[in-house]
């Protein structure tokens, strides 16, 4: 889309664009280029010399069983977070759409987790489930469940999924509620007159009309689980036990900043960039479609 009526000249717009272009250049294009360059280099152990190794780092990363395990963990983690947060968000939105009394209170409280940093969501859940002091952990042990997420891989995964999904429910709730409220009441009334039960009305009318919102939210949730949950992992499990919760972003950070393997870390960064670009492309294709849909 373009405007018909515009101002002339180029000096003033150049001046207006300068700050953003400068920041973008220095903190976006330069590091991105560095990452790509670094990903094709190898440094010796003392950092004295570097040599060009082309795709060797990528081959090493993609052939590394630890990397593949981390990719699998990431996939499992993000699908679990997305499914849980979407299901909870949808359920609560459907219910909130039906009530009149107290609707504002429900909505306000359900929005609150959005304001909580992922890292802090992690701390809140850690406090509940810490094997020695957590109130739920102690309760579980009294029920005969041997709860110790510091040793049990499945329990660790469950805990980080719960913390990550808890924070994301607000967002999904808000978008599902907006989607529900945009469905024309006349459609639902017509099918009610035709004798469709509430359950049938939901699955045949509401759910299909929510499909665009759901798909959009699915991409957003996966991006969130991939990239925004570093703080949860870092606070709750540090990727453990035995790397059972080491998601890709955590591994990039760990290999680069703790392991100091810059070539591998940069190659991992470049792979992550490709994943984000792919997800964004999917999302934009979908947004195009949504415009036609509406």
């Amino acid at each position: 889309m373009e405007r018909r009526v515009v101002f002339s000249g180029w000096l003033f717009p150049a001046f207006l664009l300068m700050p953003q272009l400068a920041v973008t250049l220095v903190f976006f294009f330069w590091p991105a280029a560095q990452a790509i360059l670094q990903s094709m280099r190898r440094e010796d152990a003392f950092g004295l010399s570097t040599q060009f190794v082309a795709a060797e780092n990528f081959a090493a990363v993609l052939g590394d069983p630890f990397y593949l395990a981390s990719a699998e963990v990431t996939l499992l983690f993000s699908v679990a977070v997305a499914v849980l947060a979407l299901a909870a968000g949808l359920l609560l939105a459907v219910m909130a759409d039906r009530v009149v009394r107290g609707a504002a209170v429900y909505k306000t409280v359900l929005l609150l987790p959005y304001a909580v940093a992922p890292a802090i969501a992690g701390v809140l859940w850690l406090f509940l489930f810490n094997p020695s002091i957590g109130i739920i952990a102690v309760g579980l042990r009294r029920l005969g469940i041997d709860w110790n997420y510091l040793l049990d891989a499945d329990q660790a995964m469950l805990l980080v999924v719960l913390a990550a999904a808890w924070k994301q429910i607000s967002y999904n709730f808000l978008f599902f509620l907006a989607g529900l409220q945009s469905i024309p009441a006349s459609l639902l009334e017509a099918s009610a007159i035709d004798g469709a039960s509430p359950r049938r009305r939901f699955w045949t009318i509401v759910f299909p009309l929510l499909a665009p919102t759901s798909f959009f939210l699915l991409v957003v949730n996966i991006v969130y689980a991939f990239f925004d949950t570093f703080g949860i992992i870092h606070n709750v499990t540090q990727g453990g036990p035995a790397k059972a919760t080491e998601i890709l972003v955590y591994k990039v950070w760990y290999d680069g900043m703790v392991g100091l393997d810059l070539g591998s870390s940069a190659a991992q960064s470049v792979i992550l960039m490709a994943i984000v670009i792919g997800l964004t492309a999917i999302q934009f294709r979908f947004i195009e479609r949504r415009v036609h849909y509406a």
């Binding site: 717009p13 107290g102 304001a115 890292a119 808000l174 950070w253």
Partner: protein, 281 residues
């Protein structure tokens, strides 16, 4: 009415369960912040608040914990506040002019400039952390507010949002301004910015929360205790060392870290919802 049915209690029951799940972790943190260290270690802790709330908050704010080298949480709150405000204001201050330039002018390389900015939408700071860290180090931005904020200001969300809004401003307004002899600067100040007020407010709320909740970047770029933000400070208080975690202080600090963004959401709920929905369009 379709919705009037006998089973009206079901939605309320589900919603109240949802509310309980949302509030329970926060409530337990609140109780934790009102007990003593030994009350918490004597698991399971009580679910009734104890009498030490103000004492614990005062200690957190004034003295922090041993693990954070006694850095007071009040100082961390200040760092977080500066970071959130600079990121929110910075993004708006550089995005509004650039969106204006891209929408209201025709000049060579205009499309290229737009795409150069737009591409940054795609890559969150998380995927380019280590090269960005090296550049921040080269520019000696480590342990400075500039280092904490500048790399996060480079993002296109706000530019895109302003661009979309500017495209809806009627051509007649631009023509009227031209007839009145107003140049692009006057038009920006007298017409476009006043029209953008609600967009600016909505964006500010979203960006403030985004900035306040940053984790990975502050973790990398700050090392001295005096530059620690509160979200990072909590991590250091828990640590993974051998010394006992002072959970009562950690929980008081957690509540202090959650309070400002929660207040922003509560007090500016209208703009918050608008900003969230628009930012994703």
């Amino acid at each position: 009415m379709v919705t009037a049915r006998s089973s009206a209690w079901v939605p309320h029951a589900v919603l109240i369960t949802g509310l309980a799940l949302v509030l329970f972790p926060v409530y337990v943190a609140f109780v934790g912040s009102s007990l003593t260290a030994s009350d918490i270690l004597d698991a399971p802790m009580s679910l009734v608040p104890g009498p030490h709330l103000f004492e614990n908050f005062a200690r957190a704010l004034g003295a922090g914990t041993v693990k954070t080298s006694g850095e007071p949480v009040a100082a961390m709150l200040l760092n977080s506040l500066v970071m959130a405000l600079v990121i929110a204001a910075g993004k708006i201050l550089i995005s509004l002019p650039s969106a204006y330039a891209v929408v209201f002018f025709r000049f060579p390389l205009r499309r290229l400039c737009f795409w150069a900015i737009f591409v940054t939408l795609m890559l969150p700071v998380e995927v380019r952390i280590i090269p960005t860290y090296k550049i921040a180090a080269d520019l000696s931005l480590i342990d400075s507010y500039a280092g904490l904020t500048l790399p996060l200001v480079a993002s296109a969300t706000a530019t895109l949002l302003f661009r979309q809004f500017f495209l809806t401003i009627p051509d007649e307004l631009v023509e009227a301004a031209k007839i009145d002899g107003a140049g692009p600067w006057r038009f920006l100040i007298d017409t476009v910015i006043p029209l953008s007020r609600t967009n600016i407010a909505a964006l500010f709320v979203i960006l403030f929360i985004y900035g306040w909740n940053q984790y990975l970047w502050p973790l990398l770029v700050t090392n001295t205790p005096s530059m620690t933000t509160i979200v990072i400070g909590i991590r250091q208080m828990i640590g993974n060392g051998d010394t006992q975690t002072e959970w009562h202080i950690v929980m008081a600090t957690t509540l202090l870290a959650v309070l400002p963004p929660v207040l922003v959401v509560l007090l500016m709920q209208r703009w918050f919802v608008k900003g969230l929905v628009e930012a994703e369009k």
